[in-house]
Protein backbone atom coordinates (compact mmCIF):
# COMPACT_ATOMS: atom_id res chain seq x y z
CA UNK A 1 0.00 0.00 0.00
CA UNK A 2 1.25 3.47 -0.84
CA UNK A 3 1.83 5.50 2.36
CA UNK A 4 -0.58 8.35 2.92
CA UNK A 5 0.87 11.74 3.79
CA UNK A 6 -2.16 12.69 5.87
CA UNK A 7 -2.80 12.41 9.59
CA UNK A 8 -4.45 9.10 10.40
CA UNK A 9 -6.70 8.02 13.19
CA UNK A 10 -4.83 5.46 15.23
CA UNK A 11 -7.13 2.58 16.03
CA UNK A 12 -6.08 -0.55 17.86
CA UNK A 13 -6.12 -3.58 15.61
CA UNK A 14 -8.49 -6.45 16.16
CA UNK A 15 -11.20 -4.31 17.72
CA UNK A 16 -14.75 -5.30 16.77
CA UNK A 17 -17.20 -3.03 14.97
CA UNK A 18 -19.63 -2.79 17.89
CA UNK A 19 -16.74 -2.18 20.29
CA UNK A 20 -15.41 0.62 18.07
CA UNK A 21 -18.79 2.27 17.72
CA UNK A 22 -19.63 2.29 21.43
CA UNK A 23 -16.22 3.58 22.53
CA UNK A 24 -16.49 7.20 23.71
CA UNK A 25 -13.09 8.03 22.22
CA UNK A 26 -14.37 7.03 18.78
CA UNK A 27 -16.90 9.83 18.92
CA UNK A 28 -15.17 12.63 20.78
CA UNK A 29 -11.93 14.48 20.25
CA UNK A 30 -10.34 16.10 17.24
CA UNK A 31 -10.36 12.91 15.15
CA UNK A 32 -13.71 11.75 16.51
CA UNK A 33 -16.80 10.92 14.51
CA UNK A 34 -18.66 13.99 15.78
CA UNK A 35 -15.96 16.40 14.67
CA UNK A 36 -15.41 14.59 11.33
CA UNK A 37 -19.16 14.44 10.76
CA UNK A 38 -19.44 18.15 11.49
CA UNK A 39 -16.70 18.81 8.91
CA UNK A 40 -18.67 16.88 6.32
CA UNK A 41 -22.02 18.47 7.19
CA UNK A 42 -20.53 21.97 7.16
CA UNK A 43 -18.97 21.54 3.73
CA UNK A 44 -22.13 19.94 2.29
CA UNK A 45 -24.30 22.71 3.76
CA UNK A 46 -22.03 25.36 2.25
CA UNK A 47 -22.17 23.61 -1.13
CA UNK A 48 -25.95 23.28 -1.02
CA UNK A 49 -26.41 26.87 0.15
CA UNK A 50 -24.22 28.25 -2.63
CA UNK A 51 -25.81 25.91 -5.16
CA UNK A 52 -29.33 27.02 -4.27
CA UNK A 53 -28.34 30.69 -4.34
CA UNK A 54 -26.97 30.26 -7.86
CA UNK A 55 -29.37 27.74 -9.41
CA UNK A 56 -32.82 28.53 -8.04
CA UNK A 57 -33.07 32.27 -8.85
CA UNK A 58 -31.47 31.91 -12.30
CA UNK A 59 -33.63 28.93 -13.25
CA UNK A 60 -36.75 30.65 -11.89
CA UNK A 61 -36.13 33.84 -13.86
CA UNK A 62 -35.29 32.01 -17.08
CA UNK A 63 -38.27 29.69 -16.80
CA UNK A 64 -40.55 32.61 -16.00
CA UNK A 65 -39.49 34.40 -19.18
CA UNK A 66 -39.54 31.11 -21.11
CA UNK A 67 -35.88 31.28 -22.09
CA UNK A 68 -32.96 28.87 -21.87
CA UNK A 69 -34.89 25.73 -22.80
CA UNK A 70 -31.79 24.22 -24.41
CA UNK A 71 -29.63 24.71 -21.32
CA UNK A 72 -32.14 22.75 -19.30
CA UNK A 73 -32.15 19.83 -21.73
CA UNK A 74 -28.35 19.75 -21.88
CA UNK A 75 -28.23 19.60 -18.08
CA UNK A 76 -30.29 16.39 -17.98
CA UNK A 77 -27.36 14.52 -19.48
CA UNK A 78 -24.70 16.35 -17.52
CA UNK A 79 -26.35 15.87 -14.14
CA UNK A 80 -25.35 12.28 -13.64
CA UNK A 81 -21.99 12.58 -15.30
CA UNK A 82 -19.86 15.15 -13.46
CA UNK A 83 -16.61 13.31 -12.65
CA UNK A 84 -16.22 14.82 -9.18
CA UNK A 85 -12.98 13.11 -8.29
CA UNK A 86 -11.21 14.10 -11.52
CA UNK A 87 -12.49 17.68 -11.37
CA UNK A 88 -11.43 18.10 -7.75
CA UNK A 89 -8.01 16.60 -8.49
CA UNK A 90 -7.45 18.99 -11.39
CA UNK A 91 -8.28 21.89 -9.10
CA UNK A 92 -5.84 20.93 -6.31
CA UNK A 93 -2.67 22.39 -7.87
CA UNK A 94 -4.64 25.43 -9.02
CA UNK A 95 -5.90 26.06 -5.49
CA UNK A 96 -2.42 25.59 -4.04
CA UNK A 97 -0.84 28.02 -6.49
CA UNK A 98 -3.42 30.65 -5.74
CA UNK A 99 -2.62 30.21 -2.08
CA UNK A 100 -6.08 28.88 -1.22
CA UNK A 101 -4.51 25.85 0.39
CA UNK A 102 -4.91 22.15 -0.24
CA UNK A 103 -8.45 22.03 0.97
CA UNK A 104 -11.43 22.42 0.81
CA UNK A 105 -11.76 24.58 -2.32
CA UNK A 106 -11.18 21.88 -4.94
CA UNK A 107 -13.76 19.53 -3.46
CA UNK A 108 -16.13 22.44 -2.79
CA UNK A 109 -16.14 23.47 -6.45
CA UNK A 110 -16.40 19.87 -7.67
CA UNK A 111 -19.37 19.20 -5.37
CA UNK A 112 -20.99 22.46 -6.43
CA UNK A 113 -20.82 21.31 -10.06
CA UNK A 114 -22.52 18.11 -8.95
CA UNK A 115 -25.29 19.93 -7.10
CA UNK A 116 -26.16 22.54 -9.71
CA UNK A 117 -27.79 20.38 -12.44
CA UNK A 118 -30.59 18.81 -10.35
CA UNK A 119 -31.26 22.12 -8.57
CA UNK A 120 -31.42 24.12 -11.79
CA UNK A 121 -33.28 21.47 -13.73
CA UNK A 122 -36.04 20.86 -11.20
CA UNK A 123 -36.61 24.56 -10.58
CA UNK A 124 -36.73 25.22 -14.31
CA UNK A 125 -39.09 22.35 -15.18
CA UNK A 126 -41.36 22.97 -12.22
CA UNK A 127 -41.89 26.64 -13.06
CA UNK A 128 -42.12 25.96 -16.76
CA UNK A 129 -44.92 23.47 -16.10
CA UNK A 130 -47.06 25.63 -13.86
CA UNK A 131 -50.46 25.54 -15.54
CA UNK A 132 -50.90 28.31 -18.07
CA UNK A 133 -54.44 28.97 -16.87
CA UNK A 134 -53.21 29.77 -13.37
CA UNK A 135 -50.63 32.24 -14.71
CA UNK A 136 -53.20 33.86 -16.99
CA UNK A 137 -55.69 34.15 -14.13
CA UNK A 138 -53.06 35.78 -11.92
CA UNK A 139 -52.16 38.25 -14.66
CA UNK A 140 -55.83 39.01 -15.27
CA UNK A 141 -56.21 39.79 -11.59
CA UNK A 142 -53.59 42.49 -12.08
CA UNK A 143 -50.69 40.85 -10.26
CA UNK A 144 -47.27 42.23 -11.18
CA UNK A 145 -44.65 40.00 -12.83
CA UNK A 146 -42.54 39.88 -9.68
CA UNK A 147 -45.40 38.87 -7.44
CA UNK A 148 -46.50 36.38 -10.05
CA UNK A 149 -43.11 34.69 -10.02
CA UNK A 150 -42.68 34.77 -6.25
CA UNK A 151 -46.18 34.13 -4.95
CA UNK A 152 -47.72 32.02 -7.69
CA UNK A 153 -45.14 30.24 -9.83
CA UNK A 154 -42.51 29.60 -7.16
CA UNK A 155 -45.13 28.59 -4.63
CA UNK A 156 -46.65 26.05 -6.99
CA UNK A 157 -43.21 24.79 -8.02
CA UNK A 158 -41.92 24.46 -4.45
CA UNK A 159 -42.54 20.76 -4.10
CA UNK A 160 -40.67 19.79 -7.26
CA UNK A 161 -37.85 22.18 -6.33
CA UNK A 162 -37.56 20.31 -3.03
CA UNK A 163 -37.19 17.05 -4.95
CA UNK A 164 -34.25 18.65 -6.75
CA UNK A 165 -32.80 19.79 -3.44
CA UNK A 166 -33.11 16.28 -2.05
CA UNK A 167 -31.46 14.65 -5.06
CA UNK A 168 -28.64 17.21 -5.02
CA UNK A 169 -28.13 17.01 -1.25
CA UNK A 170 -27.96 13.22 -1.23
CA UNK A 171 -25.49 13.20 -4.12
CA UNK A 172 -23.33 15.82 -2.44
CA UNK A 173 -23.30 14.01 0.90
CA UNK A 174 -22.66 10.69 -0.83
CA UNK A 175 -19.75 12.08 -2.82
CA UNK A 176 -18.13 14.27 -0.16
CA UNK A 177 -16.18 11.35 1.42
CA UNK A 178 -13.71 11.36 -1.49
CA UNK A 179 -12.47 14.55 0.16
CA UNK A 180 -10.56 12.27 2.53
CA UNK A 181 -8.56 11.06 -0.46
CA UNK A 182 -7.91 14.61 -1.63
CA UNK A 183 -6.00 15.76 1.40
CA UNK A 184 -8.96 16.59 3.63
CA UNK A 185 -10.74 14.80 6.40
CA UNK A 186 -14.46 14.56 7.00
CA UNK A 187 -16.42 11.36 7.42
CA UNK A 188 -14.51 9.62 4.61
CA UNK A 189 -11.37 9.50 6.73
CA UNK A 190 -12.27 6.23 8.44
CA UNK A 191 -12.57 4.33 5.17
CA UNK A 192 -9.31 5.90 4.02
CA UNK A 193 -7.48 5.08 7.23
CA UNK A 194 -9.00 1.60 7.34
CA UNK A 195 -7.77 0.92 3.82
CA UNK A 196 -4.34 2.32 4.67
CA UNK A 197 -4.06 0.28 7.86
CA UNK A 198 -5.79 -2.80 6.49
CA UNK A 199 -8.35 -2.50 9.27
CA UNK A 200 -11.75 -3.92 8.31
CA UNK A 201 -13.51 -2.52 11.38
CA UNK A 202 -12.55 1.00 10.40
CA UNK A 203 -13.53 0.45 6.75
CA UNK A 204 -16.96 -1.02 7.52
CA UNK A 205 -17.65 1.39 10.39
CA UNK A 206 -16.70 4.38 8.24
CA UNK A 207 -18.73 3.12 5.29
CA UNK A 208 -21.80 2.62 7.50
CA UNK A 209 -21.44 6.15 8.90
CA UNK A 210 -21.29 7.64 5.40
CA UNK A 211 -24.30 5.63 4.23
CA UNK A 212 -26.22 6.60 7.37
CA UNK A 213 -25.50 10.29 6.82
CA UNK A 214 -26.66 10.07 3.19
CA UNK A 215 -29.89 8.37 4.28
CA UNK A 216 -30.41 10.91 7.07
CA UNK A 217 -29.94 13.74 4.58
CA UNK A 218 -32.73 12.41 2.40
CA UNK A 219 -35.06 12.16 5.39
CA UNK A 220 -34.03 15.60 6.70
CA UNK A 221 -34.84 17.31 3.40
CA UNK A 222 -38.23 15.57 3.34
CA UNK A 223 -38.95 16.81 6.85
CA UNK A 224 -38.08 20.39 5.93
CA UNK A 225 -40.23 20.03 2.83
CA UNK A 226 -43.17 18.89 4.94
CA UNK A 227 -42.77 21.95 7.15
CA UNK A 228 -42.31 24.45 4.35
CA UNK A 229 -44.52 23.30 1.50
CA UNK A 230 -48.28 23.77 1.98
CA UNK A 231 -50.38 20.63 1.84
CA UNK A 232 -52.25 21.60 -1.30
CA UNK A 233 -49.07 22.26 -3.24
CA UNK A 234 -47.60 18.95 -2.17
CA UNK A 235 -50.47 17.15 -3.85
CA UNK A 236 -49.56 18.81 -7.14
CA UNK A 237 -46.18 17.11 -7.01
CA UNK A 238 -47.23 13.75 -8.37
CA UNK A 239 -48.73 15.36 -11.43
CA UNK A 240 -45.84 17.70 -12.20
CA UNK A 241 -43.04 15.28 -11.42
CA UNK A 242 -44.57 12.73 -13.76
CA UNK A 243 -43.89 15.05 -16.65
CA UNK A 244 -40.68 14.64 -18.50
CA UNK A 245 -37.52 16.41 -17.51
CA UNK A 246 -37.42 16.75 -13.79
CA UNK A 247 -35.15 14.53 -11.77
CA UNK A 248 -36.84 12.60 -9.05
Amino acid sequence: MIPLPFAQAAVPRGIGLAEWLVDVDTWLGRDGILSSGLDTVTLCAAVMGTGMLIAVPSAALLAHSRRGELTATALVTLGRAVPTFAVAALLVPVALRRGWGFEPWPIFIALLLLALPPLYLNTYTAIRHVEGGVVDAARAMGIGERTLLLRVELALALSVIFTGIRVAAVQVVATEPIRAFLGGDGLGRYVRDGLGQNNDTLIIGGALLIAALAATTSVAVSVVERLVVPHGVRRLKQRTAARRGSVG
Binding site: R80, A81, V82, A86, L90, P93, I204, S218
Partner: protein
Protein backbone atom coordinates in the same frame (compact mmCIF):
# COMPACT_ATOMS: atom_id res chain seq x y z
CA UNK B 1 1.28 18.04 5.10
CA UNK B 2 2.56 19.16 1.74
CA UNK B 3 5.63 21.37 1.78
CA UNK B 4 5.16 24.68 -0.07
CA UNK B 5 8.09 23.75 -2.30
CA UNK B 6 6.24 20.71 -3.63
CA UNK B 7 3.17 22.78 -4.28
CA UNK B 8 5.22 24.60 -6.87
CA UNK B 9 5.67 21.41 -8.92
CA UNK B 10 4.59 22.06 -12.49
CA UNK B 11 1.00 21.09 -13.26
CA UNK B 12 2.22 18.93 -16.09
CA UNK B 13 5.70 17.79 -17.04
CA UNK B 14 5.58 16.41 -20.57
CA UNK B 15 8.79 14.42 -20.25
CA UNK B 16 7.11 12.31 -17.56
CA UNK B 17 4.22 11.64 -19.89
CA UNK B 18 6.62 10.30 -22.54
CA UNK B 19 8.86 8.39 -20.13
CA UNK B 20 5.99 6.80 -18.23
CA UNK B 21 3.77 6.16 -21.21
CA UNK B 22 3.65 2.42 -20.42
CA UNK B 23 2.15 3.17 -17.02
CA UNK B 24 -0.34 5.64 -18.50
CA UNK B 25 -1.35 3.18 -21.19
CA UNK B 26 -1.84 0.38 -18.67
CA UNK B 27 -4.02 2.67 -16.55
CA UNK B 28 -6.04 3.70 -19.59
CA UNK B 29 -6.59 0.08 -20.60
CA UNK B 30 -7.61 -0.89 -17.07
CA UNK B 31 -9.97 2.07 -16.92
CA UNK B 32 -11.59 0.99 -20.18
CA UNK B 33 -11.84 -2.63 -19.03
CA UNK B 34 -13.48 -1.73 -15.72
CA UNK B 35 -15.91 0.59 -17.50
CA UNK B 36 -16.89 -2.00 -20.10
CA UNK B 37 -17.18 -4.83 -17.56
CA UNK B 38 -19.40 -2.71 -15.30
CA UNK B 39 -21.52 -1.55 -18.23
CA UNK B 40 -21.87 -5.06 -19.63
CA UNK B 41 -22.92 -6.48 -16.30
CA UNK B 42 -25.19 -3.51 -15.62
CA UNK B 43 -26.83 -3.86 -19.02
CA UNK B 44 -27.49 -7.58 -18.52
CA UNK B 45 -29.01 -7.03 -15.08
CA UNK B 46 -31.03 -4.03 -16.28
CA UNK B 47 -32.38 -5.95 -19.26
CA UNK B 48 -33.53 -8.76 -16.98
CA UNK B 49 -35.05 -6.43 -14.37
CA UNK B 50 -36.67 -4.19 -16.97
CA UNK B 51 -38.21 -7.24 -18.63
CA UNK B 52 -39.81 -8.19 -15.34
CA UNK B 53 -40.96 -4.61 -14.76
CA UNK B 54 -42.51 -4.37 -18.23
CA UNK B 55 -44.18 -7.75 -18.00
CA UNK B 56 -45.76 -7.33 -14.58
CA UNK B 57 -47.21 -3.88 -13.91
CA UNK B 58 -46.75 -4.31 -10.16
CA UNK B 59 -43.07 -5.13 -10.57
CA UNK B 60 -42.03 -1.75 -11.97
CA UNK B 61 -42.29 0.51 -8.88
CA UNK B 62 -40.27 -1.72 -6.52
CA UNK B 63 -37.62 -2.37 -9.17
CA UNK B 64 -37.05 1.31 -10.00
CA UNK B 65 -37.26 2.26 -6.31
CA UNK B 66 -34.67 -0.39 -5.49
CA UNK B 67 -32.34 0.85 -8.22
CA UNK B 68 -32.86 4.44 -7.04
CA UNK B 69 -32.05 3.47 -3.46
CA UNK B 70 -28.90 1.69 -4.60
CA UNK B 71 -27.89 4.78 -6.55
CA UNK B 72 -27.84 6.89 -3.37
CA UNK B 73 -25.35 4.59 -1.59
CA UNK B 74 -22.10 6.57 -1.40
CA UNK B 75 -19.44 5.02 -3.64
CA UNK B 76 -16.68 5.29 -1.05
CA UNK B 77 -18.94 3.50 1.44
CA UNK B 78 -19.87 0.72 -0.99
CA UNK B 79 -16.30 0.04 -2.09
CA UNK B 80 -15.31 0.04 1.57
CA UNK B 81 -18.10 -2.33 2.61
CA UNK B 82 -17.14 -4.88 -0.03
CA UNK B 83 -13.41 -4.91 0.71
CA UNK B 84 -13.62 -7.29 3.70
CA UNK B 85 -15.56 -9.79 1.55
CA UNK B 86 -14.12 -9.56 -1.94
CA UNK B 87 -10.74 -8.03 -1.11
CA UNK B 88 -8.93 -5.42 -3.17
CA UNK B 89 -10.03 -7.24 -6.30
CA UNK B 90 -11.58 -6.31 -9.60
CA UNK B 91 -14.95 -7.69 -8.42
CA UNK B 92 -14.99 -5.15 -5.58
CA UNK B 93 -14.75 -2.41 -8.17
CA UNK B 94 -17.04 -3.84 -10.85
CA UNK B 95 -20.01 -4.88 -8.69
CA UNK B 96 -20.79 -1.40 -7.25
CA UNK B 97 -20.05 0.25 -10.60
CA UNK B 98 -22.52 -2.08 -12.32
CA UNK B 99 -25.04 -1.41 -9.58
CA UNK B 100 -24.83 2.34 -10.12
CA UNK B 101 -25.76 1.93 -13.80
CA UNK B 102 -29.01 0.09 -12.98
CA UNK B 103 -31.17 3.14 -12.22
CA UNK B 104 -30.23 4.91 -15.46
CA UNK B 105 -30.42 1.81 -17.67
CA UNK B 106 -33.64 0.31 -16.25
CA UNK B 107 -35.44 3.66 -16.55
CA UNK B 108 -34.18 4.05 -20.12
CA UNK B 109 -35.28 0.55 -21.18
CA UNK B 110 -38.72 0.89 -19.56
CA UNK B 111 -39.25 4.37 -21.07
CA UNK B 112 -38.12 3.07 -24.45
CA UNK B 113 -40.54 0.15 -24.60
CA UNK B 114 -43.39 2.21 -23.16
CA UNK B 115 -42.87 4.74 -25.95
CA UNK B 116 -43.84 2.17 -28.57
CA UNK B 117 -47.36 3.10 -29.73
CA UNK B 118 -50.02 0.48 -29.03
CA UNK B 119 -51.17 0.57 -32.67
CA UNK B 120 -47.70 -0.46 -33.82
CA UNK B 121 -47.72 -3.39 -31.45
CA UNK B 122 -51.20 -4.41 -32.53
CA UNK B 123 -50.30 -4.10 -36.21
CA UNK B 124 -47.26 -6.35 -35.67
CA UNK B 125 -49.41 -8.94 -33.91
CA UNK B 126 -52.05 -8.59 -36.60
CA UNK B 127 -49.46 -9.41 -39.22
CA UNK B 128 -48.99 -12.70 -37.43
CA UNK B 129 -45.73 -12.00 -35.62
CA UNK B 130 -44.99 -14.11 -32.59
CA UNK B 131 -44.56 -12.06 -29.37
CA UNK B 132 -40.83 -12.81 -29.37
CA UNK B 133 -40.38 -11.68 -32.96
CA UNK B 134 -42.52 -8.60 -32.34
CA UNK B 135 -40.42 -7.57 -29.36
CA UNK B 136 -37.11 -8.16 -31.11
CA UNK B 137 -37.83 -6.82 -34.59
CA UNK B 138 -40.42 -4.10 -33.93
CA UNK B 139 -40.41 -2.92 -30.32
CA UNK B 140 -36.68 -3.11 -29.60
CA UNK B 141 -35.64 -0.98 -32.60
CA UNK B 142 -38.25 1.61 -31.71
CA UNK B 143 -37.08 1.67 -28.09
CA UNK B 144 -33.43 1.88 -29.12
CA UNK B 145 -33.03 5.69 -29.11
CA UNK B 146 -34.09 5.81 -25.43
CA UNK B 147 -31.85 2.88 -24.54
CA UNK B 148 -28.86 4.42 -26.32
CA UNK B 149 -29.33 7.71 -24.48
CA UNK B 150 -29.41 5.72 -21.24
CA UNK B 151 -26.23 3.84 -22.14
CA UNK B 152 -24.49 7.13 -22.94
CA UNK B 153 -25.33 8.64 -19.55
CA UNK B 154 -24.40 5.40 -17.78
CA UNK B 155 -21.08 5.25 -19.63
CA UNK B 156 -20.04 8.81 -18.83
CA UNK B 157 -21.00 8.45 -15.18
CA UNK B 158 -19.21 5.06 -14.91
CA UNK B 159 -15.98 6.43 -16.39
CA UNK B 160 -16.10 9.13 -13.70
CA UNK B 161 -16.83 6.64 -10.92
CA UNK B 162 -14.07 4.23 -11.97
CA UNK B 163 -11.53 6.83 -10.79
CA UNK B 164 -12.99 6.51 -7.27
CA UNK B 165 -12.27 2.76 -7.36
CA UNK B 166 -8.60 3.76 -7.12
CA UNK B 167 -9.09 3.91 -3.35
CA UNK B 168 -9.34 0.10 -3.38
CA UNK B 169 -6.33 -0.25 -5.65
CA UNK B 170 -8.32 -0.63 -8.88
CA UNK B 171 -9.52 2.37 -10.78
CA UNK B 172 -7.27 2.70 -13.84
CA UNK B 173 -6.62 6.39 -14.36
CA UNK B 174 -7.80 7.07 -10.81
CA UNK B 175 -4.60 5.44 -9.57
CA UNK B 176 -2.58 8.06 -11.41
CA UNK B 177 -4.70 10.74 -9.71
CA UNK B 178 -4.16 9.26 -6.23
CA UNK B 179 -0.47 8.69 -6.90
CA UNK B 180 0.00 12.31 -7.95
CA UNK B 181 -1.93 13.59 -4.95
CA UNK B 182 0.03 11.50 -2.48
CA UNK B 183 3.38 12.70 -3.79
CA UNK B 184 2.20 16.26 -4.55
CA UNK B 185 3.61 15.56 -8.01
CA UNK B 186 0.91 16.97 -10.21
CA UNK B 187 1.85 15.46 -13.56
CA UNK B 188 0.30 11.97 -13.14
CA UNK B 189 -2.70 13.56 -11.43
CA UNK B 190 -3.37 16.03 -14.21
CA UNK B 191 -2.86 13.35 -16.85
CA UNK B 192 -5.10 10.85 -15.05
CA UNK B 193 -7.89 13.35 -14.49
CA UNK B 194 -7.74 14.82 -18.00
CA UNK B 195 -7.59 11.44 -19.69
CA UNK B 196 -10.56 10.16 -17.67
CA UNK B 197 -12.65 13.13 -18.77
CA UNK B 198 -11.43 12.71 -22.35
CA UNK B 199 -12.23 9.00 -22.26
CA UNK B 200 -15.77 9.76 -21.10
CA UNK B 201 -16.29 12.20 -23.95
CA UNK B 202 -14.82 9.82 -26.56
CA UNK B 203 -16.97 6.89 -25.41
CA UNK B 204 -20.03 9.13 -25.37
CA UNK B 205 -19.34 10.19 -28.95
CA UNK B 206 -18.62 6.61 -30.03
CA UNK B 207 -21.90 5.30 -28.61
CA UNK B 208 -23.77 8.25 -30.09
CA UNK B 209 -22.32 7.41 -33.53
CA UNK B 210 -23.10 3.71 -33.12
CA UNK B 211 -26.62 4.56 -32.06
CA UNK B 212 -27.14 6.89 -35.00
CA UNK B 213 -25.89 4.18 -37.35
CA UNK B 214 -28.23 1.61 -35.77
CA UNK B 215 -31.30 3.85 -35.97
CA UNK B 216 -31.08 5.57 -39.37
CA UNK B 217 -34.82 6.36 -39.36
CA UNK B 218 -34.45 8.83 -36.49
CA UNK B 219 -32.24 11.14 -38.52
CA UNK B 220 -34.90 12.50 -40.86
CA UNK B 221 -37.32 13.49 -38.16
CA UNK B 222 -34.67 15.51 -36.46
CA UNK B 223 -35.31 13.81 -33.14
Amino acid sequence: MIAPLQAQNPIIRWSWFIDEWDQVQAALVQHLELTLLALGLGLLLSAALATVALRYERGAPPITAGAAAFYTIPSVALFGLLVPYTGLSRATAVLPLAGYTLLILITAIIDGFRSVPAEVREAASGMGMSPRRRVLTVELPLALPYIITGIRIATVSTVGLVTVAAIIGQGGLGRLILDGLRRAFWTPMTIGASLSILLALMLDLAIYRLGAAATPWTRRRGA
